[in-house]
Subunit: 423 residues, 2 copies
């Protein structure tokens, strides 16, 4: 790479609000989105909530001349809703489906059926490897009484862990998506601390768009105003995050958001605002490298956020186990009822009542069985995240105790330490 | 690394057959396994089918002085059954749960409930990064009419893909486990071709153990002889596989298997045979490097195996969609029945019959709904694997058409190409 090397990367991110039959003006918005993307000709367009594969196929056809590469990440029952359009060839892709993702009996929320995930694209740009991630975490339906908090935190952990394990060879990492996390939320802090990613909104000196960088704003006619009544400016839950290995320096030259309106026609593209970032990648000597991850060097905030996450996961594991035990009693009761009904039916007494009660008893047993299975799976998923987190916490503490010299050995995955060996 | 550098790695792998209440002499076998592992003091012991976490905790306590590091991979409802004991500190770990893994209504087979997975451990040995993977793929219950073939092939693909994406920075890759694949099976070929892993049994010049390296042998008293009636020597389904980056050379100095008996007391440790490999890692100039992955250089066998896998996945996707459609009709029928019964009950005629048929109709609707959900998820999982595979197939063809010079650029993930740039 030449010393005066420079790479400009224009990135677009939007939660498209593409729920078939439910989202308003979907076809029109998809058409306008396609026109806009074609006109702007970004390097990468990362989209969430493209729930219908037909919409993806429509966009694919429409965007083919400008974005020859595209991928739709399939998962769960409905799908992850994630897709990507790229001006550059996609070298590789893969995805990780989050282990915990809401509750199947919360049908009206629907997240469980989506199979929320993180998608990874590997691209090669000017000889550099870019790992671009697109994701959409579990929605927040009630901030005051958020029953999905632990699931979203566990997803943020899995997202960070997936990035950590798959980006060790990457020169640049880009994460775009709807995190459903406010900038002070635990999941956001955990993700930033563990991956060392930088928030384009906080880093850029040239921001144009909605107040405080919000990506759901009251001025958007598709937004449910009730959801934002406690946030008069709106909320910032969609992000462009990035980092580079040491020796490289990424800066966010400009960041724009839409402001509740289509940049051209006036009508919004979605209920979320789009993010448009211009990133500039440059060669940088390791000593002047404010953009690269600091890894565990600043381990105190990391330890603090890991501890906070651990407390959250402990509570969630206990709750999942409680529900599994409760459902276990339900199964027991159902089986007992069935046995009693069999005896009654065989004995001749209360035969009619026994026959009538047979089906509800079978229903109780099967229903409780399903609840048991689900919450056992939830508990195992949360335990898995907790074990990974405990391990990282232990090693971060060791790294802190041993001082900065020993850190590369303790944190194999952190690019800062790894790359230093290469150079 | 010094030119005369040498690293010896002693590895143990066993499918422990540790099903609570069902596996014979489980407690005694776990005790003897612990004694054996303590006595032999391997670098790494990778175990499968440790279904009970109590068994893991028992082994952990017993092995603590010899193997200070250990991890149990939790997943699914029962668990993955995977665990590992290491003489060396574990730097990092993570896991990937396979997207497709049997059918929930095949309760007697139980694989769906286990949450089969691949576990990854990152270790640092003599300054080299070792990625050690442990896995257990879906069991094969009927080789003549194997309804799980596509799921196992998809798992082999996911396993290979997971290794590919997480080992880009590793110096050495080790994969141990019960693959439930015979050496000529599609899944085994796919795994080897796409990852470039070497089979310890085929590579070693010093093999001691069961005939043809079989890991389920008729001489083992716990083996169901009926399962092996078509294989008089037994079957080889458990493996130690490895590879190194260019510049390193791994050879399998010795490979031993148990032969249906405990190496000391005479009674077997499990219904599977244990594998014990001594690997030797040495510095090797890139031009004499028979151990490192050839990546896409030999792409013709890769193309052929990818095509074969694609055919298998296409069939499986069609079948999953057929079942989802069938279940969709079931839901429709159930809802229709419920509507008719409501009308009958409201009208006064056949009220008793309507009440009696109400529960079965609800049952039909819910049951068909569950089947629909499951097979839609299966279809999406298989489609995901198919899309990844199609992409790799496309790029492998491109690489072949363009000739060997262009291959590193087309295959970012293959270590051969990547490392060559570093050197």
């Amino acid at each position: 790479m030449k010393p005066n090397f420079s790479l400009r990367l224009r990135v677009f991110n939007l939660n498209c609000w593409g729920i078939p039959y439910l989202s308003k003006h979907r076809a029109d918005r998809m058409k306008r989105l396609g026109d806009f993307l074609n006109m702007e000709s970004f390097d990468l367009a990362l989209l969430e909530e493209v729930w219908s594969e037909q919409d993806f196929q429509y966009l694919r056809q429409k965007l083919l001349p400008t974005y020859p590469a595209a991928h739709y990440f399939r998962s769960g029952i409905i799908g992850s809703g994630l897709c990507v359009f790229s001006k550059h060839p996609i070298q590789e892709f893969t995805q990780h489906i989050f282990t915990v993702n809401g509750y199947p009996y919360m049908i009206h929320h629907g997240d469980w059926f989506c199979g929320k995930a993180v998608g990874l694209l590997v691209l090669q740009l000017s000889g550099l490897v870019l790992n671009a991630y697109v994701t959409h975490l579990h929605a927040e339906y009630n901030r005051q009484k958020d029953i999905y908090l632990a699931h979203r935190v566990a997803q943020a952990w899995e997202l960070a862990h997936f990035i950590h394990h798959t980006s060790k060879k990457a020169d640049m990492v880009l994460l775009c998506g709807d995190l459903n996390l406010h900038p002070k939320d635990l999941g956001y802090r955990l993700l930033k601390e563990w991956t060392g990613l930088h928030d384009a909104y906080l880093e850029t000196r040239d921001f144009k768009g909605s107040e405080e960088g919000c990506t759901m704003v009251p001025g958007n006619c598709y937004v449910n105003q009730k959801e934002l009544e406690r946030f008069p400016c709106g909320i910032r839950i969609d992000y462009v995050l990035y980092k580079a290995v040491s020796g490289l320096y990424i800066s966010c030259k400009t960041l724009k958001t839409t402001t509740g309106q289509d940049p051209h026609s006036g009508s919004p593209l979605s209920d979320h605002e789009a993010l448009m970032a211009t990133l500039c990648v440059r060669h940088s000597p390791p000593q002047h490298n404010p953009s690269s991850t600091q890894g565990p060097a600043e381990s105190s905030p990391l330890i603090s956020v890991l501890r906070e996450t651990l407390t959250e996961l402990n509570l969630a594991v206990a709750q999942a186990c409680w529900w599994a035990t409760f459902a276990g009693y339900g199964i027991g009761l159902g089986l007992l009822l069935l046995a009693v009904l069999c005896v009654l039916a065989a004995g001749g007494g209360f035969r009619e009542a026994a026959i009538l009660l047979w089906s509800p008893s079978v229903g109780l047993t099967l229903g409780a069985g399903a609840v048991y299975i689900f919450h056992m799976q939830e508990a195992k998923g949360l335990c898995k995240a907790r074990a990974e987190l405990q391990h990282v916490l232990g090693r971060t503490r060791e790294a802190q105790d041993l001082g900065p010299e020993s850190q590369p050995a303790l944190f194999l995955g952190h690019q800062e330490g790894d790359r230093a060996e290469d150079q």
